[in-house]
Symmetry: C2
Subunit: 445 residues, 2 copies
Amino acid sequence: MVFDIVIHNGLIITLNSDFDIIENGVVCITKGKLERIEAGANDKPLPEAKEIIDANGGIIMPGLVNTHTHLPMTLFRGLADDLPLSLWLDEFIFPCEAKYLTPETVRVGTLLACAEMLLSGTTTCCDGYFFEDDVASAVYKSGIRGVLGQGVIDFPAPGVPDPSDNIKNAVRFVEKWQNVSPLITPSIFCHSPYTCCQETLKKAKAASDSKGLLFQIHAAETKSEYVRIQSEQHTTPVKYLDRIGSLDENTLIVHGIWLDDDDIEIIAKRRSKVSHNPQSNMKLASGVAPVPSLITAGVTVGLGTDGCASNNDLDLFREMDTAAKLHKVNLMDPTVMDAVTVLKMATREGAKAIGLDNHIGSLEPGKQADVIILDTDKPHLVPMYEPVSHLIYTAQGSDVRDVMVAGRILVRNKNLLTLDLEDILERVTRLSGYIKKKLKVSKVI
Amino acid sequence: MVFDIVIHNGLIITLNSDFDIIENGVVCITKGKLERIEAGANDKPLPEAKEIIDANGGIIMPGLVNTHTHLPMTLFRGLADDLPLSLWLDEFIFPCEAKYLTPETVRVGTLLACAEMLLSGTTTCCDGYFFEDDVASAVYKSGIRGVLGQGVIDFPAPGVPDPSDNIKNAVRFVEKWQNVSPLITPSIFCHSPYTCCQETLKKAKAASDSKGLLFQIHAAETKSEYVRIQSEQHTTPVKYLDRIGSLDENTLIVHGIWLDDDDIEIIAKRRSKVSHNPQSNMKLASGVAPVPSLITAGVTVGLGTDGCASNNDLDLFREMDTAAKLHKVNLMDPTVMDAVTVLKMATREGAKAIGLDNHIGSLEPGKQADVIILDTDKPHLVPMYEPVSHLIYTAQGSDVRDVMVAGRILVRNKNLLTLDLEDILERVTRLSGYIKKKLKVSKVI
């Protein structure tokens, strides 16, 4: 048999259920799928293939899974940092979203995000935003895999001036994209229990269920949300969502910081999933999610970067490092959130959190060939006693050399093959120059 | 006048006392010193120079200052993570230090550290370890600037089998290195108030004072240290050190986590300095240093990575990102530790913390030409509304393109000019293979 691609001469971190690590590994790919993952033998020639990729002694692993993003927010990266949350949102983010988001700017902002993600080893993202049709077009163009949800919110939103259209609009997006490409999985992104009324939450979940979609929702993110739901619904955000039927195995709770023990039990019982976004939670001073307790309770927790305005990057390697360290100091226990646990969060558990675990998240025969190769011939990756430790505590997105999604090579030798990066950077720079000028004129900054 | 080097076509972040940022900046260097820092004029030719460096629209800034490292510990990077502190130290780090540290391994481990630091934009490090003579040889060879202290501890240590020789040995190191090179500043590194008896602490400080040196000491790092000093000395670590005369403007308190309000006041009053190492403190679950309170009290706080065994890298860009985010979530206030404050910690405040603020830490005429240039033509650095925000929240060590120390170019186009990187990586890999084999045989891992 002649494979499409054979990758060899690398250490394979499979992320399979036995957490097998294969030295001098060989990965065989055909028609976008993984066919064989095995140890190479020095006395045996390599399997035949149309293309042979030498990993040069580096690490071969599944691409990373970013379970929560707002891709077009790259446009507002670093626009206004270190501010109180309400000032940041009311004076900068909301006005900029209202004024500067158009189908065209959303597309170029998403292309920028895809470029950043691919170049730093992310092969799947789960997004929720507005103008999601344009997000999807850009994601599709880049070749990255995406679970994409049109936003539902009870306020006028970019592209949805009349909130009463919000669910209809989200369903229209789903119907348009549900059969376009195996790489695009539509979803519904309900903004939060405090920006959507009970009726909207119920209708959005019903629409999501009727089509078997992932239902994404920000919940239990901030103390003010917690206080507000307590005041209005006389219970916690999670118990409120549970009471109105929002929680089941297709629900992805994003953030999940303000949780009590009963909330954790409910999430576990409903088999809902959680997206953990530690860097955003730290930067916005939202709090520390009880991730070790969630995992102990059996909840599937994936890792996410959140949007670029609150992080300010989409690099999951930095996010893994932070996730591992934050919980140690928070619980004053250096043994929690060990490197293996965190690596799983960013791969197989993340895939499960967004409903794609049958297809991606590990290197196993039959799964999609979403593979990345890291160059480990760098001072910060030497010596290497324990490769998984290096992936969490010292590897960087910039160590990623090659990236493929469904067997299609998107990054080769650190060069992005699918997009015109120079053109994207130039267009975003032009737009940001305009935004900057306008903000200065209005004396906001 | 013909300068030695002129850098142009970049955004200069001067870090001078007015925090001037100069667009289209020009930096003129002669005899290792900064001569002029000014805005370029389009109608005027560039100043004449032996070498012209085009920053290509990137960022030109002072090199970063790492105020706390144990350079040779690169050799133990990732050797044993996610363990309880005592197990990590007693079963792995201490035995490995005892068995595998020799003058030769210390030299190669230090060369690896210098390579990593230079390639990620650090131009000055403050180190404390054993076999410091060999550390100094390697630092000198690399061309990086260093404040280097031979370790003083009341236990048999690598290279100092008899603790009664500890101070004599440290002084011998100082005398040997104090006039070798303007790039090497000797210091004394007293390990901690719980590993050195009162007599040792006093003698070491006296020796340090007699030569006008920086006196480095780990203090108030862990709860167990705090409890022990409380039990033995009936006061806090800082008050104990103050009582025995260890604290003055030449003292660098490393970590400074377990501090009460009085401790902070004492540190401020004595004008002692603090080295903040957030990633190490998180990974080892030591706690969160009250850095915003220290800064408010007027204490000079620099940033440090700590050794590679507890971080696991020497990248100050990652450390800045973490410092900015950790305190926000810890104090539940998104406005603390803003980007400018953190950038100062990693440059001018760091320089002040280790006694070099008259020479380095900012780009100002008369100071040493320790300069780095960042390539900002990358997806994660676009758009750029606020360059300082990007340096803290999204720039990576790998964005550093050129590095010079005292006007000598050490990194050009991401290539290290002073060291044979391939040889260093090979030697460290060989040594780590041996260590790994030995540890496996003894069934420790």
